[in-house]
Symmetry: C2
Subunit: 385 residues, 2 copies
């Protein structure tokens, strides 16, 4: 297998793009990535998306984006793994380059959520859960996460306010990210008094509904320097799954697929949690951030929130997370999120993260989660010397 490098990145601002469709968003990110890499043609295009069939009455995004991008004839398909669709597309793009099936691959994540009503989008997002055993009971995605958060608080003795650092950190970092949706800081007081959505989850625990697209260009690592001064190597790419329904898990507070996916990634890269300089995790809800930190091995069981309270997750801390705003404040256009994480990690590893730069960042980890931990995709990226 060949080593794979990221030689181009692109993203649209995350927000409510009333004036743009799926194809326009995808193209904006894709063109930026191609320009960044100095590449005009690719051998294959993989599109990560979850909701276009339900919300935009448009499937077949592989061909649609290829067509709109003028990539006549190119191999193109869509990949879906609920909110982990973006990283799932990257994983298969990585496989094609690593395996020698393609030399230049474009991977785009795109989602347009704001054309739907609140009720429609809530129902559409619930298709990430088990339709026949969870959604049919009226369980929304936020409600599932609320169950997890309530249980976690009960089990480990935390108060709702203890989750504030996750949200404060994300909002603080989003201020300096021109592509982030919610570019304002929040206070602990604001967090404590935020509007309740699904007890104990408030508006400030949850990531926003939004539109956006992000893209990367891949090539074999040995060719990377010809295109990009500061290429980034993909040191690991690992997917793991767990039961879709929460109630089927022996221990709902232990995200087995997070543990497995991270373990596989650490093994592939030959590194451990202590080697990671920053972690773009899947903070769709604050509880997911806490559980991920634990199952990845960054914090002992029940200490994910403690790690945040100790300040380790902030830019100056031991393990900065959500360094460009995370899902919480950059925004969470579901099928695109996995690629936003990658684009942001590349910015850090290139030293282009502006005021959010993590000093001496060499090794970054990203983790994209589908459902309540049913699909988990971990990548470890490294700055190439």
């Amino acid at each position: 297998m060949r080593e794979v490098a990221i030689i181009g990145i692109g993203q649209t601002p995350v927000g409510e793009h009333w004036d743009k469709g799926l194809r326009e968003l995808a193209l904006e990110a894709l063109e930026a990535a191609l320009r960044d890499a100095g590449v005009e043609r690719v051998d294959a295009l993989l599109v990560g998306n979850m909701l276009s069939g339900q919300i935009e009455a448009q499937e077949h995004l592989g061909a649609l984006v290829a067509d709109f991008a003028g990539m006549h004839g190119v191999e193109a398909v869509k990949v879906e793994a609920a909110c982990a669709s973006g990283a799932a597309a990257l994983r298969l793009g990585y496989a094609m380059v690593a395996g020698g099936l393609a030399d230049r691959v474009a991977v785009v994540g795109v989602e347009k959520m704001t054309d739907a009503s609140g009720e429609q989008i809530t129902a559409a997002l619930a298709t990430a859960a088990d339709a026949e055993y969870e959604a049919v009971q009226g369980l929304t995605f936020t409600a599932l996460n609320a169950l997890l958060m309530r249980r976690y608080m009960h089990e480990h003795g935390y108060r709702r306010e203890d989750f504030a650092p996750f949200s404060i950190n994300a909002h603080r970092n989003a201020v300096h990210n021109p592509y982030a949706m919610l570019r304002f800081p929040i206070t602990a007081e604001a967090f404590a008094s935020a509007r309740m959505i699904a007890d104990p989850i408030t508006l400030l625990d949850a990531s926003p509904v939004c539109d956006g697209a992000a893209a990367v260009i891949l090539c074999p690592a040995e060719e990377a320097r010809a295109f990009q001064e500061r290429p980034v190597r993909i040191r690991a790419s690992a997917v793991a799954t767990d039961t879709v329904a929460l109630h089927d898990r022996r221990d709902p507070l232990w995200l087995e697929a997070v543990a497995l996916s991270a373990h596989r990634a650490f093994q592939q890269a030959g590194v451990g949690p202590e080697d990671i300089d920053f972690f773009e995790l899947h903070d769709a809800f604050t509880i997911m951030a806490a559980l991920s930190l634990e199952a990845c091995g960054f914090a002992p069981r029940g200490r994910g929130v403690a790690l945040a309270l100790e300040g380790a997750i902030f830019r100056e801390g031991q393990l900065p997370i959500a360094t460009m705003g995370g899902l919480k404040a950059r925004g969470h256009p579901v099928g695109a999120t996995g690629l936003y994480q990658i684009v942001e990690a590349v910015l850090q590893l290139r030293g282009q993260a502006g005021p959010n730069q993590i000093p001496h960042a060499r090794l970054g980890m990203t983790q994209n989660i589908g459902g309540t931990g049913a699909t988990v995709i971990t990548h470890i990226l490294e700055a190439m010397d």
Copy 2:
């Protein structure tokens, strides 16, 4: 790159499965394929599906099928390319084995269409077309194919009845396929007087709405004999795309992506149209069969229907097609179709096609089409000596 072999196949009968959900159908095919290969665990699972989000309120099929199959922790994602979703999943499974990322891969195509009303399914299938420029005009998928058929008749001087051999051949072959949906022969008279759907397409030009699942197990060709007495080698796997909207094509009667995908497949395999013993083509509508034969190089331009009228497409002919009933009579559960084609080709190459056996079949070709030719995926399979 490693050579890849198919060591196990499985399928459910195609039909109206009121008593089974998506996961039950997928599992039935998957378990049959695993049993056939004598394999218990795989490294990765790829699921081809188009409509589950829209019709079953269930996305996230990779994790769902892995979960239901008891494949705890396994890498799993869904792949979508409209009606070519099944072959798209195979293509990526092939890439993972060929590239050395996995040694055992399961690929399942599954679709459940009959839980929806006729109007719902028509709208859902139209998401394979361009939502903003085609579907929004009220163009259904059948209507798009009717435009093609009308133009073809005008251009090349055929009558509606001239398309009958495609349908007659498919129905004749389905009679002996225990997994086919429409297991009855039809006559030229029945074809001529069939109920009009979208002029000039009648009920007997079109494939039925139905449910089903099909699966294959892949491994490196050099290991295949350890699992399967009669393994089948994947000699070529090629994807090409074209504009999604029909009106964007210079010549709507020339399926550019069919030509490109077939050309790439022939090149990979180092063979030409004359070497192919049988062809499982995408006869969702009779016009698609005719246009595919032409763009693949099996018939000159405008002579696809003539080829059928001459009898070449029948079991005894020069280029048998739809040997187990095709989309027309085996049925077209859209996201599963690409894998039904593969399973049937493997049966032919193993000499297990019963009364439908093509004598001395050594090299078979399959072609799965998404939209009106926007995504085309061609595989060439060979019996291993």
